[in-house]
Symmetry: C2
Subunit: 437 residues, 2 copies
C-alpha cells in the first residue's frame, strides 16, 4: 500500500469509525459469541501473497464486530469508563504517522518536551502542589505511563531502591537480600493509598495516612486511577487534600478525561528517586545534552525502553475541549449517577451499598447474594445493558458505572426500567421457588 | 467535536500523515532545537475554553515538527528500525475507534481471540516449535507485550515465582526472602540469551546454552527484539536454532516487521507459569466462561491491567503484505546493509567491526576513539543523516542501521559519499593538528 492508497483507505476508515461511534447505540452492547468463536473464521496461517484492503475491511464486520464488547455504547455500565473522544483519535493518527520512539530527549525532543509541559498543564488542572510540577527548574515532574499498575510498580521499585540504599549506608554489613526480607509495603485491601477504589469508589484518608508516612519516612504513593479526573472540578478537589504528603501520585486520563487508552499520568516530587532506580546508559542512547542537566530522558522513568508520542492526545483533548468542556463531561456523569441513585432509592426492593461520590452506583436487591447473582445474570443475559458486580463486606453487589461519553438521562431511565422489570420477573419466580421448597 | 466534524478533520489528518510520510525525505532528519525549546512556544496552562481544530492543527508544523527526529526518513540510520506501514496505521485507527480494554476474554472476546490466533500465525512464520503455539488446546501460546523489556521482566518474575515455589516445596523452613537472596539470574553483558544485540547484532549460542539450562532447570528466556523478524526468511531461520530449549521467546514486530509500536510478541511453552505468577481475580473481572478453561484472560500475562486491541495491527499487516511482502522488506534491508559494508571495505581508511549478519553495520575509521568520536560529531552535526555509536571491546564504533521502510540503494550511496567526504575533511584537520602538536 502506497501513500495514494492510504489517502483513499484512510478516509474510508475515518468514515467507518465515525459510523461505528455514531450508530453504536444500535449494536447489542455485549456479544453473543462463545469462547473459541474466532479461530474457525480465520485461516490457519498468514497468507503468502498480499490480500487487498477490501478483503480485510469486509472481515471487520464479519469476524471482529460479532465478538466486540462495545465499551462506548451508552448502554455500557460495566467496569469504569474507557475514555474516547474524536480529538484523541485525531492525535493518535498523528502519533502513528510520526512514529518516533521517544526513549531519550534526542530520540525526538518534541515527544519528551510536550509530555513534560502537558503533565504540568494537567497537574495545574487538578491543583497539585508546586513540588510535583517540572516547570523550568523544578525537582519534580510528570510522565505518561501505560497504566496505573505500571505507575504503582514504578513507585514501589523506586521506594525499594531508595530504602535499600539508605539502610545500606547505615548498616553496610547487611546484604540487599537481607534488607529486602525486612521491607514492608503497607496497603489496604485495594493496595497503596487509593482515591476512588474500583469496587465501590471509596477514598482512603490521606490527611491521616500522610503525616504518618512522612514521619516514618515511608514512600506514599496515591492511586486515583478513576477518580483523579474529577479533581479538575473545584467542587471535588477536596477529595485530593493530603496529596501534599505524597511522594508520587497517579491518575488515568484514559479512564475519565476523554483521552484514549493508554495515558496514565504519574507525578513525583523528586525525579531523582525514579532515575536513581531505573537509570540505563548504554552508549547508543547517550547524547551530548544529557550532561547539561537540562533534559529529561523518560526511559529512566519507566519499565519499557520505547515509548510513543502519547502527549499529543493530551494536547489535542485539553485544547479542543478546554478545561470547561472537560468539567462539563465529568459533571454530566456525576449528575447521571445521582439520577440512577435516586431511581434506586425510590424502589423499596433495592438498597444503595456505598456512598455515591462520583460516577459509580453500588446497589442490590435487599435479600440474599444468590438473589442478586440471579438478577445480574438476568441483566447481562438480556444484553440490553452491561454491568459487572463486586463484593462489599461479603455482599454481592451490582456496580452501575456511568461510562460512555454519549450517555444521557434517557439511557439511565431506560436502564433502570429494564433492571426494575427484570427484578419483578425474577422475584416472582424466586418467591414461587421458595414456596415450592 | 462531533462525528460530522471528525469525518472532515479525520480526512485532513489522513492527508497530513500521507504528505508527511511521502515527503519526509525533504525534512532535515535531526532537529535544530535546543533543550527547553518547546515550553516558551506553548501556553502555561490548559485553556479554559475550547480552541478550534484549526488552531491546534497549525501548531503541528509550528511547534511539534521543529522538534521531531524523523525516524522514518530514509536518511535515518540510528538505533534500530521503528516499524511503520500504512496497513498498521489503518488498523490503529480502528483500534482507537473500537476503544475496548481487553483485560479479560469477556471485556471484548474478539480482542483476546484475534491476539491468540495472530501470535500463532506469527509463531508459524518464524517456525517456532509447536509447544509455543496455542492452537485449540495447546499449553503454550503468545501474547502482545508493550516492549521487550516488559517481556524480559515478565519472564524473570515468572521464573522467580516458579523457582521459589519449587524450593519452598522442598525446604518449607526457608522464607521467601531467604530463597530470593540465593536466586541467580545468569546473563551476558546484554542480559538473558539474546539474538541480535543492540550494539552490534551479535548472537548468543543457544545450542550450547539451551541444554545446560534444561539440565540445571534454569528458565531460559530468549530476546530477539530486533533480529526476530528476519527469521521469517528461511535463509535466516537457522539463527533461531536452539529455541526448542527455551521457556519463553520474544521479538518485536514493532521494530522490523512493519507493525507500528507497540507490538512486542512473546511466547511461552507453559502458559500456567505466567498465570501462576500474575493471576488476579477480583469479582468485577470474573465472568462465567473462565472456569471452563476455554478462555484466555490476558491480564494474567502482563504487568498492566488494561490493554488495547493491538492484534488488529498484526492482522492488517500480515494480510496486506503477505509473508512474501514481509520477506522482501527484510531482504531489502539486509541487501542494503551489505551494500554499505562493501562501500566501507573498499576504503582502506575504514574497518568493519562486527560481522554483518542482518541490517546493521558497525564500522570505524582505523585510529583512535577520539578520531571516531569526532567523525560521528561531524556526521550528526551536518544533520544530513543520523547515526548513533556503540562501544565494542573498548572501541568507539559507529552503527549504521538500515531503518526506513522507504530507504533505497541511492540513499545508501549518498550516506557513504557523505561520510567519506566528512572523513576526508576531518583527517586533514586531524593530521594538521597532530603536526602542530
Amino acid at each position: 500500500m502506497d501513500a495514494a492508497e492510504f489517502r483513499k483507505r484512510g478516509k474510508e476508515m475515518v468514515d467507518y469509525v465515525a459510523d461505528y461511534l455514531e450508530k453504536i447505540e444500535k449494536r447489542q452492547v455485549f456479544p453473543d459469541v462463545e469462547p473459541g468463536y474466532l479461530r474457525p473464521l480465520i485461516a490457519q496461517c498468514a497468507p503468502q501473497d498480499p490480500e487487498s484492503f477490501e478483503d480485510v475491511f469486509k472481515d471487520i464486520e464479519k469476524i471482529i464486530m460479532p465478538g466486540v464488547t462495545h465499551w462506548h455504547s451508552p448502554y455500557f455500565f460495566a467496569y469504569f469508563p474507557a475514555a474516547s473522544s474524536f480529538p484523541a483519535l485525531l492525535a493518535d493518527m498523528l502519533c502513528g504517522g510520526i512514529g518516533c520512539v521517544g526513549f531519550s530527549w534526542a530520540a525526538s525532543p518534541a515527544c519528551t518536551e510536550l509530555e513534560t509541559v502537558m503533565l504540568d498543564w494537567l497537574g495545574k488542572m487538578v491543583n497539585l502542589p508546586e513540588e510535583f510540577l517540572a516547570g523550568k527548574d523544578g525537582k519534580g515532574g510528570g510522565v505518561i505511563q501505560g497504566s496505573a499498575s505500571e505507575a504503582t510498580l514504578i513507585a514501589l521499585l523506586a521506594a525499594r531502591t531508595k530504602t535499600i540504599r539508605q539502610v545500606q549506608s547505615e548498616k553496610p554489613e547487611l546484604t540487599e537480600a537481607e534488607i529486602m526480607g525486612r521491607l514492608v509495603a503497607y496497603a489496604s485491601d485495594q493496595f497503596c493509598a487509593t482515591l476512588g477504589t474500583t469496587p465501590c469508589c471509596s477514598f482512603d484518608k490521606l490527611l491521616e495516612l500522610g503525616p504518618i508516612c512522612n514521619k516514618e519516612n515511608i514512600w506514599m504513593h496515591i492511586d486515583a486511577a478513576y477518580a483523579g479526573s474529577a479533581f479538575i472540578c473545584p467542587e471535588f478537589r477536596h477529595l485530593l487534600n493530603g496529596v501534599e504528603f505524597a511522594d508520587s501520585f497517579n491518575f488515568n486520563p484514559h479512564k475519565w478525561l476523554l483521552v484514549n487508552f493508554d495515558c496514565s499520568a504519574m507525578w513525583v516530587k523528586k525525579r531523582s528517586d525514579l532515575i536513581g532506580a531505573f537509570k540505563l546508559e548504554p552508549l547508543y542512547l547517550q547524547h551530548h545534552h544529557q550532561e547539561s542537566g537540562l533534559v529529561t530522558d523518560y526511559r529512566h522513568w519507566q519499565i519499557p525502553l520505547g515509548r510513543r508520542f502519547r502527549s499529543l492526545k493530551l494536547w489535542f483533548v485539553l485544547r479542543m475541549y478546554g478545561v470547561k468542556g472537560l468539567q462539563e463531561h465529568i459533571r454530566k456523569h456525576i449528575r447521571l449517577s445521582h439520577q440512577f441513585e435516586h431511581l434506586v432509592l425510590q424502589d423499596e426492593r433495592f438498597e444503595i451499598c456505598a456512598k455515591v461520590v462520583l460516577g459509580l452506583v453500588c446497589f442490590r436487591l435487599k435479600g440474599s447474594n444468590e438473589l442478586n447473582e440471579a438478577l445480574l445474570k438476568s441483566i447481562n443475559g438480556a444484553k440490553k445493558i452491561h454491568l459487572v458486580p463486586c463484593h462489599l463486606r461479603e455482599k454481592f453487589v451490582l456496580r452501575f458505572a456511568i461510562c460512555s461519553r454519549t450517555v444521557e438521562s434517557t439511557h439511565i431511565e431506560f436502564a433502570w426500567q429494564h433492571i426494575s422489570q427484570l427484578a419483578t420477573d425474577l422475584l416472582k419466580t424466586w418467591v414461587q421457588n421458595h414456596h415450592q421448597q
